[in-house]
Symmetry: C2
Subunit: 168 residues, 2 copies
């Protein structure tokens, strides 16, 4: 029994990215209504050595596409990183959601035992599917979605935990 | 096969709370070294309507104890909320880790199908074990651990993703 890798990754990340897309939509409306230059929000970061909003969204979707591909034994697609506007962020999230939608649950059967290797900053990391999901994919994914939320909250966007969790 | 509820909750939250404890230790050392009043960090928040560092740690551990208890069919313990100092935060995290350590994996067999009810702000929420873990426990837990990290990063603490993810 327990919970399938598909539900833990594709299911969870699809829902969270839909929530993030709605939050990005609220940020866009906030900028328009309060006559804030959109770049003020898009380029906002919580500290000079942290990444800005655009990068948080980009990395959250990258973690997602990497997880979907590697756990199903597919090739990780290359997506150009050229997001500049709110519309680009919606498109990036849409691209991830479309990519997720192309997978079937059975492609993840046995994924928890799959050997997974990746290189991060020149360092080779070796995982099993389970250690990759629990120790890399989900903490990283949640980190970047939460940080996107925190950047916008810190800049006065009126959102709450309900926007983060979304509808059940 | 797939991944057990125990590994997804107790396993993940134990590791993440150990990482958080180390981050709190670094914050404490940073305050001492730079002669910052510890309360400046402990009471820091990212926006006036967001919760401070103490509350982020408290809620992360609360989500953890609630998950451990409900998913194993145990009574949710009541912990007094009286944390004021860094030492108190270490103790709170230690309390959660000790509580987790008292559970055996087999107490979570079939937990994904358990009916789980909770009240949040007077609203009754009904879950299955699976929807509780994926749609409530993990997003909330990661939200508060990430926000604790972001509060400290925003206040100049020199930590990075490696502190958040911890050793594998």
């Amino acid at each position: 029994m327990s919970i399938s890798v598909y539900d833990q990754t594709i299911g969870v990340m699809s829902r969270m990215l839909l929530n993030l897309d709605a939050i990005i939509g609220k940020a866009e409306a906030y900028a328009e209504q309060d006559k804030i230059d959109p770049n003020v929000l898009l380029q906002a970061r919580l500290y000079p050595t942290m990444l800005n909003l655009i990068a948080q969204v980009r990395i959250a979707t990258d973690i997602g596409k990497g997880a979907a591909a590697r756990l199903s034994g597919s090739e990780v697609p290359v997506w150009e990183d050229k997001e500049v506007t709110f519309a680009d962020l919606h498109a990036r999230i849409g691209q991830a959601l479309d990519y997720f939608a192309g997978f079937k649950p059975e492609q993840f059967d046995g994924a928890e035992e799959r050997a997974i290797s990746l290189k991060i900053g020149g360092q080779a990391l070796e995982f099993t599917g389970q250690s990759y999901v629990l120790g890399f994919v989900l903490p990283n994914f949640y980190f970047h979605v939460t940080t996107a939320y925190n950047i916008l909250r810190h800049n006065g966007l009126d959102i709450g935990k309900r926007d983060f969790l979304g509808a059940r």
